[in-house]
């Protein structure tokens, strides 16, 4: 069959040598290129490789790309500029995976004390479907917090005795008690918090910020993730890199996960006997080959690979300096506590987060797991609080005294709330709590968030929200706003949609939270 013959028009699945779409007569070149671009995307999608739009391509090409903004020929500018001047330049997200109970932490419910072991009124639950873990319980006995609350700070906020340190920075915090989520189980709920969607494959918040705003420090990743050693291990959720992946955005926007120990980034060091200049020459050679390949097939993924080689090379210098804590003054150790010297602890990671913030890393996410207290809650939540309270306080305090809190937003919280009723046997000293997506508490501090305020209210059972509900999407919209980004405009074309962190359902910036 001769593809050139007039009875056989071109067909896209034709194998072997054949004219390309560019050879078609009477078709404007721009259209042909668009077709070719789509075809390339289909080709790579078919192989399970992420596809990229031209906006992402421009970011990838980085320093040499023509800027996307009209009248802005500055090379290296990111895909977007802030839509308005930002309040926050960086964020540190302390992710309390497993979900701390709101009852023992931020949502004070004194009236429950008189309702110990009483049944939760059916009208409160309103026929809600429960998880398989408690759905078969014959009773839903109310479990008041065994931990006491006291007023703290100028705002007189009630804070649990579990957080004596964090209570000292109460006036820096904006506590939100009315968050709600769509998911009732950990994995989808954590994904929704980190990526805006319960299904895997979406870019994480940090990836969106990297894509939208670019790097402040090109020697370090823009998005860093750390997981923390746990003071105890019960119901530990698996964490995977889909929580910090770049999804359909270029891979360079994914987080670099710093490991604890002597080798924070695996395979970063040169093998024994390989000097830096040899490594440089090797990378140059590989990059050259990659560039040739890019010129031939035009796949932007290749440029992502090139930029990752370059980033790794730069990190060979920047990471050792970052992780060398020897120049920290004694005041640092006094503040963060002795555990901060032990790599991988939450305290160590908080100090690392401050060092990353100083060096211009935009988004640092620290995971601390094992807050999932279905049983033995009083004992285990105390272990978790003891491990994390002082470092959390230290981080906020340290950022503040170093002048970094003004433009760094700190976010603390889990993926959902917990039930007012006890899971399993309730005794005066012991109980458990099941998952509860209808309301939960988080706090934010710094970065243009109104300090000392509380937002939202729940009913007496912290079961339903009675004032100012705030969906995860609203949280995301608000975080992006702090960075000067309009969540409805920060988008990336993928699968025929302008994909956004906040998706397509209604979401809004909570202006009341803004300083």
């Amino acid at each position: 069959m001769n593809p050139h013959s007039s009875d056989h028009p071109l067909c896209s699945d034709h194998g072997g040598e054949h004219p390309t779409v560019l050879d078609l007569p009477h078709v404007p070149l721009g259209l042909k290129r668009e077709w070719l671009d789509l075809e390339t995307r289909r080709h790579f999608l078919g192989q399970g490789v992420k596809a990229l739009g031209w906006a992402g391509l421009a970011t990838l090409l980085g320093r040499s790309a023509p800027n996307l903004l009209a009248n802005s020929p500055i090379p290296g500018a990111p895909a977007f500029l802030p839509h308005y001047a930002p309040k926050a330049k960086r964020a540190i997200y302390l992710f309390m995976a497993g979900s701390p109970s709101q009852f023992e932490t931020w949502d004070y419910k004194p009236a429950l004390a008189d309702l110990f072991d009483k049944d939760l009124p059916e009208s409160v639950r309103g026929g809600q479907t429960l998880t398989g873990m408690t759905a078969s319980q014959t009773r839903f006995p109310i479990a008041p917090s065994i931990y006491k609350f006291a007023r703290h700070g100028k705002a007189g906020r009630f804070i649990s005795e579990l957080f004596p340190y964090t209570a000292k920075v109460s006036d820096e915090l904006c506590v939100i008690k009315s968050l709600h989520t769509d998911a009732i189980n950990h994995e989808p709920a954590i994904l929704q918090l980190t990526t805006g969607n319960m299904f895997p494959g979406r870019p994480s918040i940090g990836s969106w910020l990297s894509y939208g705003l670019g790097a402040m420090n090109e020697e370090l990743p823009t998005f860093v993730v750390m997981t923390s050693k746990m003071p105890h291990r019960t119901n530990v959720q698996a964490l995977s890199n889909r929580l910090w992946s770049s999804g359909f955005l270029s891979p360079e926007h994914a987080a670099v996960a710093l490991r604890s120990g002597s080798d924070p980034v695996l395979y970063l060091n040169n093998p024994k006997g390989v000097e830096s200049d040899v490594r440089r020459a090797m990378i140059d050679g590989v990059n050259d080959l990659n560039r040739q390949l890019f010129e031939r097939v035009g796949d932007p993924e290749i440029n992502a690979r090139i930029s990752q080689y370059e980033m790794a090379f730069r990190m060979q210098t920047s990471v050792p300096e970052l992780t060398d804590f020897s120049n920290e003054p004694q005041s640092t150790w006094d503040l963060y506590g002795p555990k901060a010297k032990e790599p991988g602890t939450f305290a160590y990671n908080c100090l690392m987060a401050r060092r990353l913030a100083e060096r211009g890393v935009r988004f640092t996410q620290i995971f601390l797991r094992s807050w999932d207290q279905h049983s033995n809650l009083p004992k285990n939540i105390k272990l978790m609080a003891e491990d994390s309270d002082q470092p959390t306080y230290a981080l906020v305090t340290d950022l503040k005294r170093r002048g970094l809190l003004d433009d760094t937003v700190v976010i603390w919280g889990g993926e959902f709330g917990r039930t007012v009723y006890s899971q399993g046997t309730l005794t005066p000293t012991n109980y458990g709590r099941d998952h509860h997506p209808r309301c939960f508490s988080m706090w934010m501090a710094g970065g243009g968030v109104k300090p000392g305020m509380s937002y939202g209210e729940t009913d007496d059972f912290s079961y339903n929200i009675v004032k100012d509900p705030m969906h995860i999407r609203d949280l995301h919209a608000t975080i992006l706003h702090l960075f000067g980004l309009d969540h409805s405009k920060l988008s990336f074309k993928f699968q025929g949609l302008d994909q956004k962190l906040t998706g397509v359902l209604p979401s809004k910036v909570i202006n009341d939270l803004l300083a």
Partner: protein, 324 residues
Amino acid sequence: MTSWLSRIFSVARFVRSGNASPSARRPSPLSRVGRQGVAFLAIAVSSARAEDTFFAKRVTPILEQKCVVCHGAEKQKGKLRLDSFAHLMRGGEGGPAVTAGDPKGSELFVRVTLHPEDEDFMPADSKPPLTPDEVKVLELWIAAGASEVIALAAIKGAPALAAPKAAVLPLAPDWRARAPQIAQLEKALGIRLVPRSMVATDGLVLRTASSPGRCDDTTLAKLAPVADLIVEAELARTKITDAGLAVVGTFVNLRVLDLTRTAVTSTGLNDLLALKNLETLNLTATAVDDSGVAALRQMASIKQTWVFETKAGGADNPTAAAKK
């Protein structure tokens, strides 16, 4: 959408019925002049004064934003135009739009305060309704006599206008004209000059985080062509000294300055006194002391200074370093 609208509406209703003070409803002396008199006065008052009237400052913007698209030069639904005082007073096919001194008897006011699902509700066709504040402004203005010339200050109790967003105030000249120079400087000096936002008059951030070691006093000196564009200077951990601060002192539009962990001293800080817009200054881990910091803290523009890990007062109690 509907419930959202009705919530806005109920707020509007509340504001209208609950907060309008009796005094605001009393016709002002001016309204006694009557409509013809007002028209006469409007001619008599010089045009230079027009900007200071309540009508021009508060009423016109609402009409232009919410009404004129259907009641203006292009469309005249119901034969009504609201794009000038004269047109407004002429009314439409249903009669006059405004009865001076009587908001509830004024079609303009009634129509914007109906239930949003009422077919006579304005703006029609689900166009953005008036905010409670805007409703209040119309009410006060009509109650005070619906005058074109009444002074802005003469009507008390009008909701404050939303403060203009910082972004719209020019912080620096438009950088776009100097884009080629900016690109050249970035390349030559190994620094970044990043627009703070899409608003071209929001100025630039001088960013050195990628290689602070490359930025020293001579680097700063070479930034003279863009000195007035720099609104934030991130100089932490750079090699700059007091000599560099003399250059920073020429960044006339500088608001945010980070000198953390640099070799600057109190002597150099004197050069910063020239920066009339400087709001925040970070001196963490520098050799400064009270002799240099005290004068800076007296500057009218300064909102915040940080002196942690220095000899300056307040180091142990950083909150004391905040002026407010």
